[in-house]
């Protein structure tokens, strides 16, 4: 037999693969635009296709938009403007008519299913899905299991297809109702002597009728979309598996399994119904989620304009405070993250003055990092970058013994906890564990529930006292570490891009961020997006070490970049959930400057507390919910409350993450300084005045804007359809295979974010504003394929702030035009800033509608 170069099945798979959800194991979870692979097409087309595949609504519901119009969050004039802009296709339509006739703008017909199952009567269609899950979910979950089950599957040595065959073969005849049809189908393939590819082709030929094979396979894979995505992800990048991905894992096998089981199940139900497949396939099967998309897109546009208008007006009016005349007491280099927007405001309000800069939170240090006491290295750079090297944390001189002790203790603790985990689930050892540990487990049970924050503080205090953490550094210079040249390059690139090149304050805080939460499978979604969801602490430490190194400074000076000797870079970590500041590498503090540094610490802590108060008004169960003024006593209460939230096992909302983020401003801080942006914007520092030829613009934009789009789209889709694109409510979620979560006991692997994580979010495509010259922006957009797709496909709204005149312009699809003419409904400047209430006031938070 001659093996074909690429079989038909392989061609179909090649089409399917890039369309699957980008389903990382939750260990490596980072924000991705869930439709990243659809980005090459314009937004509306892409979401329509995705809606069909995911069976999920890509816009909010008509009812939602109507409510938003009712309460003024969508402005009538914006809706009117959107309708007016479509005059050519819609004719003369005013808002009243648009509201009265729900067919207006409904230009796109719903798409059709290709499979048989959706054509069955409702009851049977539901049974179809459930039976498929009953058979396949336990199998694939066990096959991929990373060690959650005590008895690791003996099947993982072979292929998924073999595991499936074996599992069917060992099941007795009465084990499930449609086994007969399944066995018959498998036998017919065996008799015909088909290999897997031929089997896939035969199955598709038989059952897809005249549908396109690739599209049919894709729809089949989407029947269990989460699992399909995970299978492909682990096949393509096995190193993502926390422990070990099965060596023979292939999407092809999974496709074959899905096709065969699905068609056998079809057969069984058709027999029950007494209808032939060909006849049943004639039944129309429109996909509900693709109904009225074109109309909803109009609503969405009006919704986005209703944000953009007031926001730009707010920005334009802004306080535009002149830079402080006295040089700042210290400067801070902070992550661009929208959560740091309020923190920066609080920091700048500190007495003595502070200047802040926003950078991409990995500070140019693209490494994998091996922390002391951790088995796996973490990726400390944005997911789109491959880490260039692996660095490890090493003890300082004389700390080796302490480190060894700590590691030993860590290993002992880890062994004990693994033993407790596995043994408590077994039979006889389980008796011993439950008798031995059972009564003891009431202690954490009670205290962790009653005093989550305090108990954690005491615990870590005791642990620190018993096993003091040794002083360590990051071995930058180690073999295949960063050379001095490279270090200088990193420091220069970061500082120059954000414009921190002169008027240095004596102290520059390098503030990374991370987030503490417990009992949270989605932890990686709260960390620093620029560090692949991990804490940015190692990057801050590495960057500060580089920038403080005299060799690096000498190298910089030779390149014409003077870093004065008294400037000290201080690495810090901001915990965005607990709102606590940790000063890193204290041992490196020069004794002479201790007082100064302690002052810095106090300032940072007080800013963090102010930040907690600002966040606190959105925590409905917190002590200051909805308050506009927060007293000192309240501040203490909210500080305790946010501490508790992070450590509370019961808390599904340790923090609100990127909720409500809707903009990304890349430019000087002067544009936004003193302006209340309500944590709605990413802020990236870029100084166009120091970059007359726009050479640093790509570095500033390409590191940040795509990340911003990813985060915004991730939140967007999980918010508009929490069941289809998101993970649903957190309450019934169940960790499976140590890789992901399912709902209850046997569902599809859940994708996206949970409802509690996105409930305050306003689903908007992000508005990216660049402070740069038009020709530089155009050159950048044209020159970068992904950015060009995002901008031209309508995945984000691009705008520009002129570096000289500060005029704001928006991209209208072809060029930039002044924003008031791009959004004619805002042609007249508003009289009062009251317009902002609807987009910036916490009292108007739009909560997720309750589930049915």
């Amino acid at each position: 037999m001659v093996t074909r170069q690429t079989s038909l099945a392989e061609q179909w798979l090649a089409v399917c693969r890039p369309r699957l959800p980008l389903q990382n194991p939750l260990w490596a979870f980072v924000h991705n635009n869930i439709l990243m692979h659809f980005e090459e097409r314009p937004f509306l087309e892409a979401v329509r296709e995705a809606a069909a595949l995911y069976r999920a609504r890509p816009f909010e519901s008509e009812a939602f938009y109507r409510d938003e119009l009712e309460r003024g969050r969508i402005r009538r004039e914006c809706l009117q403007a959107v309708l007016a802009a479509r005059r050519a296709t819609l004719g003369e339509v005013d808002v009243e008519r648009f509201l009265a006739e729900s067919s207006i703008g409904d230009a796109l017909a719903p798409l059709e299913h290709l499979r048989l199952a959706p054509r069955l009567p409702r009851e049977l269609a539901q049974r179809h899905q459930r039976r498929l899950e009953d058979l396949l979910v336990p199998l694939v979950a066990a096959y991929l299991d990373q060690g959650l089950a005590g008895w690791s599957t003996p099947l993982a040595d072979g292929s998924l297809w073999d595991a499936f065959r074996e599992s069917v073969a060992t099941a007795p005849g009465w084990s499930f109702d449609w086994r007969e049809q399944l066995v018959r189908r498998l036998a017919s393939h065996d008799n015909a002597g088909r290999d897997l590819e031929a089997l896939i082709e035969a199955e598709v030929r038989e059952c897809a009728l005249d549908a396109d094979g690739a599209a049919y396979c894709l729809e089949t894979l989407f029947v269990l979309k989460g699992w399909s995505g995970l299978v492909w992800r682990l096949e393509s990048e096995p190193e993502l598996a926390p422990v070990q991905a099965p060596a023979q894992l292939r999407l092809r096998d999974w496709l074959a399994v899905l096709l065969v089981t699905q068609h056998a199940l079809d057969d069984a139900l058709l027999e029950e119904l007494g209808v032939a497949r060909v006849r049943a396939m004639r039944q129309p099967a429109p996909i509900e989620a693709t109904r009225s998309l074109a109309r909803l897109a109009l609503w969405q546009e009006a919704y986005e304009r209703s944000f953009a208008g007031p926001f730009l007006e707010h920005l334009e009016r802004g306080p535009r405070k002149p830079d402080a005349s006295t040089p700042p007491r210290f400067q801070a280099l902070v992550c661009m993250d929208d959560r740091e927007e309020s923190f920066r405001r609080a920091l700048e309000a500190q007495s003595g003055g502070c200047e802040t800069f926003g950078a991409v939170g990995f500070f140019g240090v693209d490494m994998r990092f091996e922390r002391v006491g951790a088995a796996l290295a973490t990726c400390q750079c944005p997911p789109i970058i491959k880490p260039s090297r692996t660095l490890r944390e090493t003890p300082l001189d004389g700390q080796g013994a302490a480190l060894a002790r700590l590691e030993q203790a860590g290993r002992a603790g880890a062994t004990a906890s693994l033993a407790a985990y596995y043994h408590s689930r077994s039979l006889l050892r389980g008796v011993a564990v439950s008798l031995g540990l059972g009564l003891a487990s009431f202690v954490p049970l009670v205290f962790k529930t009653l005093l989550p924050g305090r108990i954690e503080r005491w615990r870590s205090f005791v642990l620190r006292a018993a096993f003091p953490r040794p002083r360590t550094r990051i071995a930058l210079e180690a073999q295949d570490g960063y050379s001095i040249e490279e270090q200088a390059g990193i420091v220069e690139a970061v500082l120059r891009t954000c414009g921190l090149t002169r008027e240095f304050a004596p102290l520059v805080a390098v503030i990374a961020h991370g987030s503490t939460s417990s009992n949270n499978p989605f932890r990686q979604a709260y960390g620093c997006g620029a560090c692949s969801g991990n804490s940015g602490a190692p990057n801050a430490r590495a960057f500060a070490a580089m920038a403080n190194s005299s060799e690096v400074r000498a190298r910089l000076a030779s390149r014409g970049f003077e870093l004065p000797a008294q400037v000290l870079f201080v690495p810090c970590l901001h915990d965005t959930a607990l709102d606590r500041i940790e000063m890193l590498d204290r041992h490196a503090w020069p004794t002479a400057r201790k007082a100064e540094l302690e002052q810095l610490e106090a300032s940072l802590e007080s800013a963090a507390r102010a930040n907690a108060c600002e966040r606190g008004v959105r925590f409905e169960q917190g002590p200051v919910y909805g308050l506009t003024r927060v007293s000192e006593a309240d501040a203490a209460a909210i500080a305790q409350h946010v501490q508790d939230r992070g450590h509370d096992l019961a808390q599904p909302r340790p923090e609100y993450g990127h909720n409500r983020v809707a903009a990304c401003i890349i430019g000087r801080r002067a544009i936004t300084r003193g302006l209340f942006l309500d944590r709605r914007s990413f802020l990236v520092s870029y100084d166009p005045t120091q970059d007359p030829r726009g050479e640093r613009l790509p570095a500033a934009v390409l590191g940040s804007a795509p990340v911003a789009v990813n985060i915004a789209m991730d939140y967007y889709f999980s918010r508009v359809d929490p069941e289809g694109f998101g993970a649903g409510s957190k309450l019934p979620l169940n960790v499976v295979s140590l890789l992901g979560v399912i709902t209850g006991s046997k569902s599809d692997l859940r994708i996206g974010l949970a409802r509690q994580m996105v409930e305050l979010h306003e689903p908007l495509r992000i508005l990216v504003l660049l402070e740069a010259r038009a020709e530089h922006v155009t050159r950048l957009v044209d020159g970068h394929a992904r950015l060009s797709r995002l901008v031209r496909g309508g995945w984000m709204q691009l705008g520009r702030i002129d570096p000289d005149t500060q005029a704001i312009e928006l991209w209208n699809g072809e060029q930039f035009e002044p924003w008031r003419s791009a959004l004619p409904e805002f042609a007249e400047p508003a009289d009062a800033p009251s317009a902002l209430d609807t987009i910036l006031a916490s009292a108007d938070d739009r909560l997720a509608p309750a589930l049915p």
Binding site: P121, R122, E123, Q126, E288, P852
Partner: protein, 344 residues
């Protein structure tokens, strides 16, 4: 067109008057003691059903129902028939399986509300109780035992049928019929069992009325529903949903409703007479709960579907009335002794 419309309006008014008349007749049935008067009332009620059965569908006489009703009436007038004939007439009159077929044939002819009235008013129990009350020694213990077996079989069959029926009203109807077999077993067991049976009767009548009203209200608003697929009405009809679930649980004997104590009391009364009968009834009660819960899940839960119809609201007086009825049933469940005469 206009004429037709008037006709339907007149029809509706006629049907309503007929329903009220039927209810009045049923009420009369429950107030009489004297066997002759009772027989007259029974026959009057039977005449009403025949009239309605003919009026609504076919002009043919509902033969099965006539026979069934007649058998019931006979016992009141001729208490000295041989034991087997008495037992047969009682069983047929009470509609125990397979004599439930005459009720079933009646169901096919009567309008839904009218058949619900027949079920809820429990005229058979009135008949039986009247008979036992009037002629205390007429049935010999052996006959009673045989009768009891028949009732058990009937209760089991009805409960089982409730598991496979698809139409909400029929599921509820089967559960009610199964419960009434229990009631009848009590009523036929003389005054002792009657204490328990009366409690169960009140509960069955009250809950049956509430549940049947909700089912018919759902039909009015959402069209034909079936118990095989899920309709997810909990969100669309939240008030009916709450009443249905509370009333249903108490109806099938959950603690908190009158039926719980009634069934408990009844089982204790029965176990002395027949262990097998008690087991049968306990199983039937178990089936009833499953049947109710299955119906509840089908009607009110499931993934939300976009309603293709425009659901009209339920009149608030109906909700208030049903709520009061459910509250009363719950109150009886907390203070069951209200329904029992302390006979010292």
């Amino acid at each position: 067109m206009q004429e037709q419309l008037e006709l339907t309006v007149r029809d509706q008014r006629g049907a309503r008057i007929a329903l009220v008349l039927g209810a009045a007749l049923a009420a009369v049935l429950w107030t009489l003691d004297d066997p002759l008067e009772l027989a007259a009332a029974w026959l009057a009620f039977g005449a009403w059903t025949v009239w309605r059965a003919r009026a609504s569908t076919s002009p043919q006489l509902p033969l099965l129902a006539l026979v069934g009703g007649a058998c019931g009436g006979v016992v009141l007038l001729a208490p000295h028939l041989p034991q087997w004939a008495l037992a047969a007439c009682l069983a047929i009159g009470a509609g125990v399986a397979p004599a439930h077929l005459w009720l079933e044939s009646l169901r096919r002819r009567l309008a839904r509300d009218e058949f619900a009235l027949v079920l809820v008013a429990q005229p058979f129990v009135a008949l039986l109780h009247g008979f036992v009350h009037a002629y205390p020694g007429a049935l010999e213990p052996q006959t009673l035992e045989v009768l009891q077996r028949v009732f058990v079989a009937s209760a089991l069959i009805q409960s089982g049928l409730a598991l496979v029926r698809r139409e909400p009203e029929r599921v509820l109807g089967a559960v009610i019929q199964s419960q009434s077999a229990l009631v009848i077993a009590g009523a036929a067991a003389g005054e002792t069992g009657w204490e328990a049976a009366r409690m169960l009767l009140v509960s069955t009548m009250g809950s049956g009325l509430v549940l049947m009203s909700i089912a018919s209200e759902l039909r009015r608003r959402f069209g034909a529903l079936d118990a095989a697929s899920h309709h997810a009405l909990a969100k669309t009809a939240p008030k009916l949903h709450r009443l249905f679930v509370v009333c249903g649980w108490t109806f099938v004997g959950l603690p908190g409703g009158a039926a719980f104590f009634a069934e408990d009391l009844l089982f204790h009364a029965l176990v002395g007479q027949s262990v097998a009968a008690t087991v049968g009834f306990i199983v039937a009660a178990g089936f009833n709960a499953i049947a109710f819960y299955r119906l509840y899940l089908a009607l009110f839960t499931g993934p939300t579907v976009r309603p293709a119809y425009a659901p009209s609201a339920t009149a608030s007086w109906k909700i208030v009335a049903l709520t009061l009825a459910v509250l009363a049933l719950l109150a009886l469940g907390l203070a069951p002794s209200l329904l029992v005469q302390h006979s010292g």
